[in-house]
């Protein structure tokens, strides 16, 4: 009995030994909209980042350290977001920040905190082309990345889809915000470049009781179809008034209106022909793993965008730190970001098990290609990613996804337009 006890006592230091191996902590910062106009979406998107941190820790941590996520709220306001980011960088010494969501806040953080401070900023949801422009102007030092494709791409994808579908005269009604202005600009440019005509390009402000005057203006010139950019709510009002004014029931609809509720509210019989696009993900095992793990950890999986993008952004930062074998040298981590998303690298997927395998490969210095929950990501020179788009339509009153517009197709169209 005593020998047994002594043996037992002798193993205790071993247990402490293995526990002590994880005695360091690395903090990854995150600035997201947890309150304010994007708050409802932001809270779920933040959970995507939290899941990633949990998976990284289950895989043994990063560079021998436990990962902690320091989540700060920007209240959907630039001044609060900038201050929170500065605090993360200066006081908590984070090497990277996942955020923000609103493009205006991401740009403000980039120009005033992370670019001058040489800290990596990776945004899961900011789609403004301004961020690409800052990269081209040399203002980011290569420290900016994002896992959401720029608005510039969906406009091109939609123009191509509509033109090859036979449409030549389209009217555009767009919401007066960054999303609407950006998408409509890109579509108009691309559609005209392909040889089509945009008969009217009309802006509308949100939360109005009626859009009769905008609809009447958009009907001028006899369009074959309407490209309606916005969200359900105002989108429903405009669609009904378009139909009531005798507008053609051929629709071009973006991701904001990919909603069964929207179709039902307007009336499924009025959607004779729909050309729909939305940012898509190439079907990979990572998405299924993400959905399963998210549901298990948080209890429910809401249908909304950008949670997968936040997961991927956080995982890539973790993998890059592991590859560069440092949690403080931000220049090395920045360079490693492309080494873990290399198209020639060894493929690894999302989820705790896959990341454990990835950790083993990284110890040997292997270049990886992380296939994320949003698909294989590859950063271009300015930190942008190209993503495929999903084609969707309304058949028999139901929203149905019908195919993909691949990255190479979009690039082909862009090359044609550049000529």
């Amino acid at each position: 009995m005593r020998k047994f006890l002594i043996l037992g006592a002798a193993t205790i230091p071993l247990l402490f030994g293995t526990a002590l191996a994880q005695s360091c902590t690395v903090t990854i910062g995150s600035v997201m909209a947890l309150t304010g106009s994007l708050g409802v979406l932001g809270q779920q998107i933040a959970k995507g980042a939290q899941l990633a941190v949990a998976d990284l820790n289950a895989a043994g941590g990063v560079d021998g350290c436990t990962v902690k996520l320091a989540l700060s709220d920007d209240q959907t306001q630039a001044n609060v977001g900038v201050d929170a980011a500065k605090k993360l960088v200066d006081v908590q010494h984070v090497p990277a920040i996942v955020g923000a969501l609103s493009s205006g806040i991401t740009t403000a953080i980039l120009t005033s905190v992370t670019a001058p401070g040489h800290v990596i900023l990776i945004s899961p949801a900011s789609t403004s082309p301004t961020l690409t422009q800052l990269g081209k102007d040399g203002k980011t030092g290569g420290y900016f990345f994002r896992t959401a494709p720029s608005d510039a791409l969906q406009g091109v994808a939609m123009a191509d889809y509509a033109y090859t579908g036979g449409l030549r005269k389209v009217a555009v009604l767009y919401l007066n915000n960054a999303y609407g202005q950006g998408l409509s600009d890109q579509f108009v440019k691309a559609f005209k470049g392909l040889g089509g005509t945009v008969t009217q390009d009309v802006v509308y402000n949100p939360d109005q009781p009626s859009y009769r005057s905008e609809v009447n203006k958009a009907l001028g010139g006899g369009p074959q179809a309407l490209f309606l950019i916005g969200y359900p709510g105002d989108g429903t009002t405009i669609a009904r008034e378009w139909v009531a004014s005798g507008g053609p029931q051929t629709w071009l609809l973006p991701d904001g209106l990919e909603s069964q509720a929207f179709v039902n509210d307007v009336g499924p019989s009025y959607f004779k022909k729909v050309y729909g696009t939305a940012p898509g993900t190439t079907d990979t095992p990572s998405l299924a793993t993400f959905k399963k793990e998210f549901q298990a950890k948080f209890g429910s999986l809401p249908t909304q965008a950008y949670m997968t993008n936040a997961y991927d952004a956080t995982v890539i930062v973790g993998l890059a730190m592991d590859y560069a074998k440092t949690t403080t040298d931000t220049a090395a981590i920045r360079d490693a970001m492309r080494k873990v998303t290399d198209p020639n690298g060894q493929k690894v997927y999302a989820g705790a098990n896959e990341l454990q395998a990835a950790a083993g490969l990284l110890k040997l210095g292997t270049t990886l290609q992380y296939i994320g929950a949003t698909g294989p990501l590859q950063f271009d020179a300015y930190g942008d990613v190209a993503g495929p788009y999903v084609k969707w339509t309304v058949t028999g009153g139901n929203v149905k996804e019908t195919g993909m517009i691949t990255v190479s197709e979009i690039e082909k169209v862009q090359a044609e337009l550049a000529k």
Partner: protein
């Protein structure tokens, strides 16, 4: 420089920029009794004017004058003052609540102009790459912030001293008279409208100065930076600090900005990791609670308005010359 110190420099720059705006508002509300809820609008005018005058050439909108930062700042103040003049002439005859509603409308109109006039402001995409002063010297991050802090602090001192001199002058006394009893003031031959207009234009020019400095500090402006919540923040700073007192405006700005941002860290440290996504909500609760607490303890603000007593009464005179 240690991280905490570097953050404090950054924090103080933003707090002092808001202090400038609060000083402008104090002149309008604290001394003249003008209920201006359009602060964000004039802040916007200052920011965008600076971006257009001193920013680089923009592919999509007006810009490219490349004027020196000092000229840009003066231009921003002038434009804010000009718009205040144009807006003030029809609206300053309105009393209190009506002026408040009119100024809310003005701020929203200015924001919608910024959002829609894409050839002028870049629309929702905003204007980027706005320069810092001494950009050409290629100072490092820490040095650039330090230099900026010195600049903003100097401007705050300048504006504070100028305003203190002005409110202790006969002009300042007329403002207070108009605030207290407009009919009495006009019966003594003072034209209340003229004085209110002067105070309004001057206050808005100072707000424009704050806007220009903010644009230079962040380097990027977008219409979403000028929502009504900004006006609320400045008003909270003035009320908490003590309206009618310039030192109160300064103190209130630093304090309110400190707990507006500090509650974020408190919320982050209080919540367990499972509830971290609710940190933002807790922060907003704490901000409200602190504001409430301060106003319950000191309803007139932390530093109340100084009682000004006429010199004759102080000297114990009995009115005989």
């Amino acid at each position: 420089m240690t991280g905490l110190l570097s953050y404090l420099v950054f924090f103080l720059i933003q707090a002092l920029i808001y202090a400038l705006v609060a000083l402008g508002l104090n002149l309008q509300w604290g001394y003249t009794g003008l209920f201006n809820i359009g602060v964000a609008g004039f802040f916007l005018v200052g920011s965008y004017t600076f971006a257009v005058l001193s920013g680089p050439a923009y592919a999509t909108h007006l810009g490219g004058f490349g004027l020196p930062v000092a000229v840009g700042i003066l231009g921003a103040m002038a434009m804010a003052g000009l718009i205040a003049l144009v807006v003030g002439i029809p609206t300053l005859r309105l009393r209190e609540d009506y002026l408040a509603i009119a100024t809310i409308g003005i701020a929203e109109v200015l924001r919608l102009v910024a959002l829609n006039a894409r050839g002028l402001t870049g629309g929702s995409r905003g204007a980027q790459s706005i320069p810092r002063p001494f950009q050409g010297l290629e100072l490092g991050n820490v040095a650039s912030n330090l230099v900026f802090l010195v600049l903003v602090a100097a401007l705050v001192v300048l504006v504070y001293l100028a305003l203190e001199t002005m409110v202790r002058s006969p002009w300042g006394r007329v403002l207070k008279a108009i605030r207290e009893d407009e009919q009495a003031a006009s019966s003594l031959g003072k034209d209340p409208f003229r004085f209110r207009l002067q105070s309004f234009v001057l206050g808005c020019a100072i707000m424009g100065l704050g806007g220009a400095l903010n644009a230079s500090f962040v380097g990027f402006v977008a219409p979403t930076d000028f929502l009504p919540i900004l006006t609320f923040e400045i008003w909270a700073m003035l009320i908490v600090g003590g309206s009618g007192n310039n030192r109160g405006a300064l103190l209130g700005s630093v304090l309110v900005w400190a707990f507006w941002t500090g509650t974020g860290s408190i919320a982050q440290s209080l919540l367990p990791s499972g509830l971290q996504v609710k940190g933002g909500a807790l922060q907003v609760i704490l901000i409200g609670a602190v504001l409430l607490l301060i106003l319950m303890i000191r309803p007139r603000g932390l530093i109340g308005e100084e009682r000004t007593v006429s010199r004759e009464a102080e000297l114990g005179g009995d009115g005989r010359t």
